[in-house]
Symmetry: C2
Subunit: 397 residues, 2 copies
Amino acid sequence: MTDSKKPDLKRRNLMVGAAIGTGALLSMNSVQANERRPGPGSSAVGTRADTESVERLPFGGVVSFTPLHELHGTITPSDLHFERHHGGIPRLDPTQHELVIHGMVAQPLKFTLGDLKRFPSVTRTCFIECSGNYVTRFGNQSTPQITCGLTSQSEWTGVPLATLLHQAGVKDKATWLLAEGGDAPLLSRSIPMAKALDDALVVYAQNGEAIRPEQGYPFRLLLPGWEGNTSVKWLRRIAVSDAPFMTREETSKYTDKLADGNYRQFSFTMDARSIITYPTYPATIEPGMHEIRGLAWSGRGRIIAVEVSTNGGQSWQKATLQGPVLDKAHTRFNLPWRWNGKATEIQSRAIDETGYVQPTLKQLQAVRATTSTNYHFNPIVGWHIKADGSIEMTETG
Amino acid sequence: MTDSKKPDLKRRNLMVGAAIGTGALLSMNSVQANERRPGPGSSAVGTRADTESVERLPFGGVVSFTPLHELHGTITPSDLHFERHHGGIPRLDPTQHELVIHGMVAQPLKFTLGDLKRFPSVTRTCFIECSGNYVTRFGNQSTPQITCGLTSQSEWTGVPLATLLHQAGVKDKATWLLAEGGDAPLLSRSIPMAKALDDALVVYAQNGEAIRPEQGYPFRLLLPGWEGNTSVKWLRRIAVSDAPFMTREETSKYTDKLADGNYRQFSFTMDARSIITYPTYPATIEPGMHEIRGLAWSGRGRIIAVEVSTNGGQSWQKATLQGPVLDKAHTRFNLPWRWNGKATEIQSRAIDETGYVQPTLKQLQAVRATTSTNYHFNPIVGWHIKADGSIEMTETG
């Protein structure tokens, strides 16, 4: 139950609208001609306009990037949700595929898609982000898509994992579980029982309809705010235990080197991040008013502020957040800005309800003892606006 | 800015989960075999699972119905948003199509899609519903799709109409405007200035991407909570005036006969309504636990309660509303129910924040002096569960 105030359409927008001053002057009644020829009729399934093209960027067969700079609002169309898989997309028969829950439980159980749909359902909107997001950028000619497009947001519907675990009767000593996917490598992660009983869901619907095959059809685990690979797709097995399972994905991968030479394991939570989506490479802009737009999110909770600098980090202004601002969810921010035509750099930084402030790249590299980047790098990203209006991505201090 | 509590996964769900008792018992370790054969790789645009089929129901070339009973959550996939058009779908060139604002303004203006995208943007989630929703049902073999599928919900992004009107300089005496679409019949409606300055948007994005052609590409008017035809698609002209324009769509159509023989004109607001989406025709159910699911919404504001009867209206229970509950938005409701195998009827009724309670069909027919139905009929709908588990739609008293 939430408060959802109407968007503030009034004072700020009117003022900025006047300042932007776009829209051509018109001689009275110079309305366009219309051929008034009837068009095609209604259909079973719609298609995109043939004058629009918006696509993921596939790379290496194992990943594809959401085109953040070409999207609006906060929902990612399901067929543009980023992909990351380790052995391709399995084709699973929804009438045959089962989820097994076993191990330290009173009674092992198995569930089909039909079984899961009968349980009390929960709907929530949240992001899923790959912990390798940002590693993938390539220099100044990086779009927001390639810099930060391994995050997407959907409205998910499914059954609380707690309900299923309760059904099986988890034993008192159980503290961890293994979540195993039904893809070729049987991707597996150890999950603390506390998270499983908190807000974990087994979801079968995304943005109103069945989950897409590349997102885990017929169902996947959803661990809101945690690194994407723990939201195990094509979920087939949950083994309950009293210790983590030390799978390949949490020993040789998905661990983070620290300054003292140790590696940080089970670094599940995605820290707060923001990315400007306009104006950014490859756009070219003219002097005058622009609305700086972007997305911010945190795996720790709600975003409480996004600060934007239009002078390379010397000073910061608060952007407007578009409500409703949800827990562990992409949040759209906006800030009107008059570009004077001189070279500058625009940046954004997110602050979440825990007080966490999105760090700089140098701060992250110091903690992680590297001059490179790796998992869980969420630095402030800058966009260098050149005097000719062209734009480049910059790695800011 | 809203409060978005985490879904309540705890007590109720655990208890009901245990009560449902679905999920088969399992011999230890009888996990399914997996061929472990790598699947296809990542792609530019995803597709639905070939084992799923979910479609609109097109009728007469001028309408198609959203399959409410096959969807989850509250977002309607854009290609399944209902359609209603009066002269087919125009193919408009987004670089050429213009919105003209003229009439009682200081300076007539015109805007292309590119112009509109430069203005301060607003994102909001709300439903659009055709005022003819419910008229279309056909007897007891009606699904929720054909009974009530002329409503859909999207996250919309665009520019406040107030911003554009301010830019043109609306004269003090102006009280109405004409919104005209770019389809073959140039569908036109008169809109009070108060609504235009309140929460009206000119939207160019739906669920994150460009609006689909059948939804008004490149942009449409969006009047949250008002009958769908006023959210004029393919918007091409706004004429500002000091009186309504008395177009065909508000004289010969879209008016409502009353008991005294007069007709109600400019009946813009969509009253509160709810529809159960499961269990409904054509499903057949078994005795035992089920989750009654449905959608409720109101053009007057937020839904504050949905009451469900499982005994043909003799008594009512409050359903759980899935948050965030937004203003003028589809709201998902759920109620666990144990069916004892005896014939009965389930019903739902919505209550909105203004205190409006969804009426019965007889109540509506009395006010509107008809034994039939017409625009703005939002009665309680019942679903007759027969002893064999089959289900029929019923028109309840």
